[in-house]
Amino acid sequence: MYFGLSEDQLMLQDSVGRYLEGASELEEVRKFVDGDGALAETLHTGLEELGVPFVLLPEAQGGLGMGVLEASLISEALGRHVSPSAFTAAYGMAVIGLREAGDEDWLSQIAAGSARMGVGLTEAIGARDNAGLSLSGDTVSGRASFVMGADGATHFLLTTSDGQGGDQMIVVERGAKGVSETELTTIDRTRTVLTLDLDNAPVAVVAGNNHAEAQRKMIDAGRVLLAADTLGAAAMMLEKAVDYSKTRDQFNRPIASFQAVKHMCAEMAAKLEPCRSMVWYAAYAQDNVPEEASLMACLAKSHVSEVGKFVARTSTEVHGGMGFTDLLGLHYWFKRIGANRQLLGGPEKLRAEAAELQGWG
């Protein structure tokens, strides 16, 4: 029995972390947020050299054949450095869905770099009014409301979920006839989210016939990766709060020596540290404990989102007025955590699903 990371996993975590520490500095992230989109591509190229996009791709397609645990370490590092990246959707969820469906053609294209997929599964989780897609022959129409991983996407992997189990996974090409996109302005400008409106857009249906199951796995894994992203962002916010409190003097002493401040930091640490074990296990369960995969994804994302919200707010308070300004840029982490909380299901929705999975209610 060994509950922890292996040497290889620690090396992966270390190499991605060290790369992002240099390449994804806050000043660079600011430029991206201000409209210079170059950082997402720079990071994509840099992470490609470390093998990051290939982590979940099967070895048959030239991938590394690793699991969601390895992917979660990458997401954690991306969250820690508020890095613009389509990783969660393009190389996490999309690859898992296509792998499960057995669509080797698309997997090969992703491995070759000729396809990069944004993912829109909001309607498979819960459709708001005027949203959802319907297939008609070989075209699709309707709206996919929150498409993740849009940075650098060449295609979109979407669902025709109707809530009745008749789900089909489809791919549309970005910029094809009948595909119009609206870039959304979210609180989190470090990652781009789109709404797609499709009007008889040409469509490729994904191979295989187990699409409901494939979608389930994409959503579960996506939730775990978002939890990992929040874990990384929150850990950084805690470190920043502790560091800041040691340098900020009031009443002739560092505020780190006041119990009021120490206790805020202790509460953040005490709540956050168990989240690390929880993310590891939820990620591990995706590949190794299938009967717990969905439940653990719901429990982990709901819990880490709650703790993340607490850390985001508390760290900002420890920074006092400076935490509220743009000068420090702490708000980029605050907003990343806030966006992750809502994507692929907020805590209440996830807990309701967790109850249902256990036959409660």
């Binding site: 029995m1 509950f3 640490a269 005490a270 168990p274 590891w280 296990y281 982990a300 819990h303």
Partner: protein, 402 residues
């Protein structure tokens, strides 16, 4: 990450199961808290013989003498819980005094006390806290003055659980009146039958006397009763305080408690419908389940760190604070879902589980306060875990509240 056990450990698990299958009918009930019942002592003897109690303690003092192995310790705990059998006696004598004696006791003290403590025949209580020395334990004032071959002790201890049954007390007393407060303390062992000791039960909000007050009036104990040197008691005691913090908070027990609440919510009905149908209560239940799960997984990480002999760091420091709070919140939910039935207590007609959840709710608040209060835990986490500075202390007598 590998959650499977190797063959060596699977074999060990089978061995523990075999033992329990054969013997568990002789076990006292898990709720049997009586000290020194024949059944309990016989069970302890059987566990000692087979290495399921005092497993790593030296053989010469009645232990089993096995090498420390966190995975085997965990397997024993898991299998005993699964069989519903109580584990070995885990009082303050075994958990706190014995490790201290093994490290710092004289050969004579080891010979005299360890074996009967492990067997359960000798029961200990801990004399640390005083009415004026709680979180600031080092300000304790119970005094021991040397007179011939004896210490003469005067003062008062409080929060002394099991004092009414105990044969012996391990106790912190002030022996060096003029030394700085941390350097004036000694750690001594006191026979509870010594004249001048009075034990008074301390009734708590639960309606039970879980603790006692102990008064010392000219109590004489031989100077050889000291563990370590005079004035070194603070250092001696800190070794055992570390053991106490590690003892509290059992993540597997938290998930067990959660399952019990889920059962209440399924079996209790309101207007003919199970309470589990209420989305608000269900949300609270799953929220606590997620926290309990996170703590359980944190515990698995700690097991691995212990088995690799690595420092547990932050993952260990948080256990008491988070574990006690979680248990308290679970009891709160159980009471809330029972509604008006939730206020029934003890032998009231219609009481569920004899009002046990109210007992938990109150007693767990005591655990949040005791054994290093939540606020002291946060100081420890911030100072040892986050390397934040201690709060500066004003000079004695310079600070007044008004």
């Amino acid at each position: 990450m590998d959650l499977n056990f190797t063959q060596e450990y699977e074999d060990f698990r089978a061995e523990v199961r075999g033992f329990l299958d054969k013997h568990k009918d002789n076990a006292p009930s898990r709720s049997d808290r009586s000290v020194r019942s024949k059944k309990r002592l016989a069970w302890q003897a059987l566990l000692l013989e087979n290495g399921y109690a005092a497993r790593t303690h030296p053989k010469e003092y009645g232990g089993y003498g096995a090498a420390p192995d966190a995975l085997k310790a965990r397997i024993i705990a898991e299998e005993f819980a699964r069989a519903g059998a109580p584990g070995g006696i885990s009082g303050q004598g075994i958990n706190m005094l014995v490790p201290t004696l093994l490290e710092l006791g004289t050969d004579e003290q080891k010979d005299k006390y360890i074996q009967p403590t492990l067997s359960g025949e000798m029961v200990w209580c801990q004399g640390y806290s005083e009415p004026g020395a709680g979180s600031d334990l080092a300000s304790l004032r119970t005094a021991a003055v040397v007179d011939g071959d004896d210490f003469v002790i005067n003062g008062q201890k409080i929060w002394t659980s099991t004092a009414q049954f105990a044969d012996m007390m391990f106790c912190l007393v002030r022996t060096e009146a003029d030394a700085p407060k941390h350097q004036g303390i000694s750690y001594i062992l006191i026979d509870m039958k010594t004249p001048g000791i009075e034990v008074r039960p301390l009734m708590t909000m639960t309606g039970f006397a879980e603790f006692n007050e102990v008064f010392f009036t000219d109590v004489r104990v031989p100077v050889t009763s000291i563990v370590g040197n005079r004035g070194e008691g603070w250092m001696v005691a800190n070794a055992t305080l570390t053991h106490e913090r590690g003892m509290l908070g059992d993540p597997d027990a938290a998930l067990g408690r959660l399952r019990a609440i889920a059962e209440i919510m399924q079996s209790e009905h309101i207007d003919g419908k199970p309470l589990m149908g209420d989305a608000v209560y269900r949300d609270r239940l799953v929220k606590l389940q997620a926290e309990a799960q996170a703590m359980k997984l944190n515990g698995m990480r700690l097991t691995t760190l212990a088995s690799e002999k690595k420092s547990s760091g932050m993952a260990g420091l948080l256990v008491k604070l988070q574990g006690c709070e979680l248990n308290h919140q679970m009891a709160e939910l159980a009471i809330d879902v029972m509604g008006e039935y939730g206020i029934l207590y003890e032998d009231s007609p219609f009481a569920r589980d004899k009002g046990m959840w109210q007992t938990h709710y109150m007693f767990d608040l005591g655990l949040i306060i005791g054994g290093g209060s939540a606020q002291i835990q946060k100081n420890i986490i911030s100072e040892r875990g986050l390397d934040m500075p201690r709060e500066p202390k004003p000079a004695p007598g310079t600070f007044k509240a008004n």
